[in-house]
Symmetry: C2
Subunit: 348 residues, 2 copies
DNA sequence: GTGAAAGCGCTAACAC
DNA sequence: GTGTTAGCGCTTTCAC
């Protein structure tokens, strides 16, 4: 019907690599090489092709690229979108990806391992070139299985012996110890920790590492094991409140609480104040992550900083190296630092 | 070298539609029909194929599907990952997608329109079947252009006359009016609003609608235009603090502040308290969105609830209808409701 | 109701 | 240095 002379673009509205090839008078393969910065194209040809790409406003179809080569897509599994620490990691991921062709696409979990598995599969089925997993709760064997399908880097999961994937973390055991040491140095005498209660993930688990560090530091300070209080709260804010209430209404209440992550420590603050207690006069509170909300005056929350942005950057470096072919493992660790604020200030 | 008799799976490790076809003794086309629930397959054939899929643990390659048909992927552009209101929308999106084959994949913006455009292109190039845009700052013409390439639904962008895309929103003008009315009813006499200062997006802009409503309600209550204070703050928390300080240190300071969104109202709370003022005794504060953090005791922030989860659900319904072929526009609007808390309580 | 075969937009051998 | 061409794993006519 149509008298359109340009059959290749007439077919579908979309500009394809063919359109570009015809427009610049070269072969499809030549265009492909330019796109991939592949070896063996003259400057003249490259210039011609790039001009056509600009004129035609061509963008390669990533799905089609994925059928033979790469999609230039990095999948990111984010276990939870409400955790105020994760945005910092994402800033770091953006930093690391800057200047590359790669685009990060995110899957958002909801605290369930089956949802996390579904998302990982969805990402793999969409041919991502690599995967960063943030704070996921998958068992080590599951992570291993995934690592066989696609290069991965985990954040918030310790497995220093793993060889099939990389990780980027802070030293959570040290950080847990720092929380205890800092509270004691501020004059608190009976600090307790509120941690994550759940299925055992083994030593890879961040919250458990922090517990270990906390316990170790308390022992070193002369506390007997039965004087060290670690209260478990399931992964819901309501549960944190219940746990804090139980703790504070017990016979020998703590005078400070270490919330294992800011996300929960902010709820600890809320629970403490709901009980009519003052922070820090009646109860000191310390969190972990030093995330954005800590700085709000109404929170003014002391927290252990784990340099999230740097962790995000490193995770990208590691992943791109894996994609480029590295097969040995690398496990990046950064040292935590106390970020002191009003929630632990003792004027004694 | 290998004596593997099953050549089709030997080729690459991956199980493909071919593997399934051979395993179940039917054609590739038949398997495809089962996958898509297409018309014209007998129950017996379907059963055979489904059994093979289960045994082989087959998952279709979405990138390959996208070359001819759909990818069953919904792209979601989220303008900002720190906004505490968005998680609620995402819960609604998950609700709406439940039971379908569709998977949501997220692109995360950083407050810049060029980044937003890049993400939208990245999503389209990866052949998403449809796009939901949350709180994006793109101009109307840009949105129109995108709508020509892929079905879209916008959230947080009003354009009731638009015919090429759908939207899901609350009535922001009404909500802005409610904030003013509620503050006045609580006994505040000089409420001010802190809104978003930026390039004009026209009437589609949510913050502007809330301003219009706020202004209208103030006028209706007898305030002269020069008595109605609307202060602009750029899209950064530091700027909100500066704006609040300027407002409160001016000759005739307001006795209450309406922060145009919780994300900023939480910063308003912080700024007010940094100045040594009490909430609500010295200054009342009201936000918009009724997001999670409002309920924390340390925030205890009154806010206008816009039923985010419902908006998320509706956006999916609209998008799936568009994907299914609807070409007329539908613009969903839900009524806002005041969610009262301590930050506006006047004991007078 | 079922299958054969063309082709989606790319990449990567391999010729030239 | 450049072009030809065979697929990647699916969907979709169109025969039978």
């Amino acid at each position: 019907m149509s008298q359109n002379s340009d059959m290749t673009t007439a077919r579908s509205g979309r500009v394809t690599i063919r359109t570009v090839a015809e427009h610049s008078g070269v072969s499809v393969a030549a265009v492909s090489k330019v796109l991939r910065n592949a070896y063996g194209v003259s400057a003249a040809l490259r210039a011609k092709v790039e001009a056509s790409i600009a004129v035609l406003n061509y963008r390669p179809n990533a799905a089609a690229r994925g059928m033979r080569g790469q999609t230039y897509t990095i999948g990111v599994l984010m276990a939870d979108i409400k955790n105020p620490f994760f945005p910092e990691l994402i800033d770091g991921i953006d930093d690391g990806l800057e200047g590359t062709q790669y685009v990060p696409l995110f899957g958002i979990g909801r605290g369930s391992t089956s949802v996390e598995t579904t998302i990982v599969h969805a990402l793999i089925d969409r041919q991502v070139d690599g995967l960063i997993m943030i704070g996921q709760r998958l068992k080590s064997e599951v992570v291993q299985t995934i690592a066989r399908e696609v290069p991965i880097v985990v954040i918030g999961h310790h497995e220093p012996e793993a060889t099939t994937f990389d990780s980027a973390n802070n030293d959570d055991e040290r950080g847990g110890a720092m929380a205890a040491e800092y509270l004691l140095a501020q004059g608190f005498r009976h600090p307790a920790m509120v941690t994550l209660g759940r299925i055992d993930l083994g030593g890879s688990d961040v919250s458990q590492r922090r517990e270990v560090g906390f316990t170790r530091a308390m022992r070193a300070a002369g506390f007997a094991d039965n004087m060290i209080r670690i209260a478990q709260a399931a992964d819901s804010l309501a549960d944190v409140t219940a746990t804090v209430s139980a703790l504070l209404e017990s016979p020998n209440p703590p005078d400070a609480i270490f919330g294992w992550a800011d996300y929960y420590a902010l709820e600890v603050l809320s629970a403490v104040r709901t009980l009519g207690l003052r922070v820090p006069e009646d109860i000191g509170v310390i969190g972990y992550d030093n995330s954005g909300p800590c700085a709000f005056t109404q929170n003014d929350l002391t927290s252990i900083d784990q340099s999230g942005r740097e962790i995000g950057r490193q995770s990208v470096r590691l992943l791109l190296e894996r994609i480029a072919g590295r097969t040995t493992a690398e496990h990046f660790i950064v040292a935590p630092v106390v970020s002191a604020r009003g929630s632990t200030r003792r004027q004694a």
